[in-house]
């Protein structure tokens, strides 16, 4: 993860240097400007630290565990939207917003697949069977390698039909043309 550190680190130092230039070379600069620098550098650096912690926790590399639906996201967004619209049309709207938000929170748990399960089709490129098959929850587990149905897009376009055997006439024409070409070539050589 060295390059990621470099990215965030260079970002933070670069902006710090610029902030110092602003402070010392271009006085008088307002305190708002300095605050903005500190705040945004903290945001980016905070994200960097979160990435760092995740790396430490080993959450790196291909992610196999996937949710199967995002209905909770819809309800959360609708709740937020209705709630915020309360700013225009009265805060009683946030009472209505309460319900989708609760629904979202309730849905959110169930949408995550159990460890080791992925929804159909189980066709991840470099997947290895992970031990004996386990309990399957709305999907196929990594251990079971569900076959992808024949016409599914994962198979790519159908193989092209084998080339048709040339028609007799065409064959003859091709032969004639080929013979011509050979004669032509021989003639040229002679010259």
């Amino acid at each position: 993860m060295k390059s990621a550190h470099a990215v965030v680190g260079a970002w933070a130092t670069g902006n710090l240097v610029l902030a110092l230039i602003l402070l010392f070379a271009f006085r008088p600069a307002g305190f708002i400007e300095q605050l903005l620098y500190i705040w945004s550098t903290a945001l980016v650096a905070g994200f960097g630290v979160a990435v760092l912690l995740a790396t430490r926790a080993g959450r790196v590399g291909t992610q196999r565990r996937q949710p199967r639906r995002a209905a909770a996201g819809i309800f959360a967004a609708l709740g937020l939207a209705v709630g915020l619209t309360g700013f225009a049309y009265g805060w009683w709207l946030s009472v209505i917003a309460f319900y989708p938000l609760v629904l979202a929170a309730w849905l959110a748990r169930g949408e995550r697949l159990r460890r080791g399960t992925r929804p159909w089709p189980a066709a991840l490129g470099d997947t290895e069977p992970a031990g004996p098959p386990r309990f399957v929850h709305y999907g196929s587990s990594l251990g079971t390698a569900t076959a992808v149905p024949a016409e599914h897009a994962a198979h790519g376009p159908p193989a092209p039909p084998p080339p048709r055997p040339p028609h007799r006439l065409r064959k003859a024409a091709l032969l004639a043309a080929g013979a011509r070409a050979v004669v032509e070539m021989l003639r040229r050589r002679r010259r």
């Binding site: 390059s3 990621a4 990215v7 260079a10 970002w11 670069g14 902006n15 610029l18 602003l22 600069a29 307002g30 708002i32 400007e33 903005l36 945004s40 550098t41 945001l43 980016v44 994200f47 990435v51 995740a54 790396t55 790196v60 590399g61 291909t62 992610q63 196999r64 949710p67 199967r68 639906r69 995002a70 909770a72 996201g73 819809i74 959360a76 967004a77 937020l80 939207a81 915020l84 619209t85 700013f87 225009a88 159909w120 089709p121 066709a123 991840l124 490129g125 470099d126 098959p133 399957v136 196929s140 251990g143 079971t144 569900t146 149905p149 024949a150 897009a153 994962a154 790519g156 376009p157």
Partner: protein, 550 residues
């Protein structure tokens, strides 16, 4: 349901939601679907915002026309600008990253797909709320896309339009912040084996830089609109200068980085398109990556160049940082030109859009140095010169690059080829239309035409240029219709797209078109990754082994 090892079940084992159904799309956890929803929504809104622009151009065709009243014109430019920035270009930029980045780095999905879907819904509801201002009694917001107080306070602009604008901006920028976060998390942590950071395609790097800026800047926008919301309730707070100038600082602290959010992914797309159709490795990869990061970091320090005339910002400092942008921008141009100069060029539609991007965006960049020079900006600020400048960057630049990307990746996303003939017609209409529309505006600005005016007088001497600009806008509209026709034809009479119709370089072209649910499959595995152009590596390897054999 139970499955035993070794036995294959050819039927879909998942009860409930059908993958292809409407719910299957709207509640999808597939980064490709969420990405396509985001990008598709933004293209539809591009039509809306473009329609508003056409109405404005109609109003300005001749002096003293009465197509739109003052107030309606003001609503139109506000909603045109706000839609274009918050609801079209920014979501497209972040959404195309969401679609492509997991494919390009060989990940099966985005990290936290449900949060990503939440962010799409925040964006969608935000756009709907903002547009619903048109149905309010007061009409839509009409304070301009940056909503300076005290004008945007309830004292000077009463009515629901502004409230809805504030809510819409808050919702959709919160959504974009979340989406940028999950995509960046994916890039940093979820890459395939062998995909080191410095083997990521240029486009993925442009998304890294973009999303870093989003994380650094968008929270500030949320604070800024929070202040505006405060002013809706207590308009008195804006009788104090600190809140007014403070708002401007906060807003532009977001406002400049967002300009590059609407630029970087498109440069990334242009770089991929140029390299592909030049049939060569992109020139100067490492310098480009560095320059993108430098560009992004520097972009956080230039915001004061929007405030030269306020008399309340350190103008020389912001002029310095703005002019320093010449360095990363110069590197980018150098690398893109070197790729073109060192290539064998194939002129497909995406390539044409990418090539036109180069000189057209350059006009925006060069005039950007002018408005980044305080002594010139004192004249140019808030005149049509500025309008011309940013339309050259955003419309003649980013929008052209956007369409380079759309023509390039449409076959990948849909499995259908777009028609080259219609694409080229679209391209030439737009080259003519864009330059006819926006070039005369430089003269208008230098001759003293202020921006945001609904009309002018015959004696002002603005008539000819405005007439030309409106004619150009008409060509843009026709070109847009040609593009829509192209999409309709491609969907009605499909020409099937192979996995890699262009002989491109990056991983997304190694899988089927459209890619399977988890992007790569047994049939389309991730190829070995040894550089930022893995498919080119494979092709070169094949060639050399063929040369040896033959």
């Amino acid at each position: 349901m139970t499955t035993t090892a070794g036995r294959s079940t050819p039927t879909e084992p998942r009860p409930g939601v059908k993958a292809g159904s409407v719910v299957g799309w709207l509640a999808s956890t597939d980064h490709k679907r969420i990405g396509l929803l985001t990008v598709g929504t933004s293209l539809v809104l591009l039509l809306v915002a473009g329609g508003l622009a056409m109405a404005m151009r109609a109003q300005l065709t001749q002096p003293q026309l009465e197509v739109l009243s003052n107030d309606l014109y003001n609503q139109f430019f506000t909603m045109h600008g706000s839609m274009m920035i918050y609801m079209v270009m920014t979501p497209f930029a972040i959404g195309i990253g969401l679609y492509l980045v997991p494919l390009q780095i060989g990940a099966p999905n985005v990290a936290a797909p449900r949060t990503t879907m939440l962010s799409y819904w925040l964006y969608l509801t935000g756009a709907v709320v903002m547009l619903s201002g048109f149905s309010a009694d007061s009409g839509a917001a009409d304070h301009g896309w940056y909503a300076y107080p005290p004008l945007a306070s309830s004292r000077y602009t009463p009515g629901q339009g502004v409230n809805l604008w504030i809510i819409g901006v808050a919702l959709s920028s919160l959504g974009m912040l979340l989406m940028a976060g999950t995509v960046l998390w994916t890039v940093l942590l979820k890459r395939a084996r062998g995909m080191a950071m410095l083997r990521m395609p240029v486009f993925s790097w442009s998304i890294v830089a973009t999303n870093l800026m989003v994380i650094g800047a968008f929270p500030t926008l949320l604070v800024a609109v929070g202040i505006l919301a405060g002013g809706r309730v207590y308009p008195d707070m804006f009788t104090e200068n600190i809140w007014n100038i403070g708002y401007q600082h906060l807003f532009w602290f977001f406002g400049h980085p967002v300009v590059y959010v609407m630029f970087f992914p498109f440069v990334g797309a242009v770089a991929e398109v140029l390299a592909t159709f030049a049939g060569r490795r992109f020139f100067g990869y490492k310098f480009l990556v560095l320059s993108l990061l430098l560009f992004a970091a520097l972009s956080m320090s230039v915001w004061g160049h929007h405030m030269f005339t306020t008399g309340q910002a350190a103008s020389n400092y912001y002029s310095l940082t703005s002019i320093m942008l010449v360095i990363p921008a110069g590197i980018e141009y150098f690398d893109m030109l070197a790729t073109v100069v060192g290539g064998r060029l194939r002129f497909t539609t995406p390539m044409l859009f990418a090539l036109a991007f180069l000189p057209q965006f350059l006009i925006g960049g060069l005039t950007g140095i002018m408005v980044g020079t305080p002594a010139l900006d004192y004249q140019m600020q808030d005149s049509y010169f500025l309008v011309a400048h940013w339309h050259y960057t955003l419309a003649a630049g980013s929008l052209f690059a956007l369409f380079a990307g759309v023509y390039f990746w449409f076959p990948k996303a849909s499995g259908r080829m777009l028609r080259e003939g219609l694409g080229k017609a679209h391209f030439w209409l737009w080259v003519a239309g864009t330059n006819l529309t926006f070039l005369p505006m430089f003269w208008l600005g230098l001759n003293g035409m202020p921006r945001r005016i609904p009309t002018y007088l015959p004696r002002d001497g603005f008539t000819t240029e405005n007439l030309i600009a409106t004619i150009g806008a008409g060509l843009l509209a026709v070109g847009g219709l040609v593009f829509i026709a192209n999409v309709v034809v491609a969907l009605r009479r499909p020409h099937q797209a192979p996995p890699d119709p262009w002989q491109a370089h990056t991983l997304e072209w190694a899988t089927s078109s459209p890619p399977p649910t988890f992007n790569f499959s047994e049939r389309y595995p991730i190829p070995p990754i040894r550089s930022y152009a893995p498919l080119l590596d494979l092709r070169e390897q094949e060639q050399s082994s063929r040369a040896e054999a033959g």
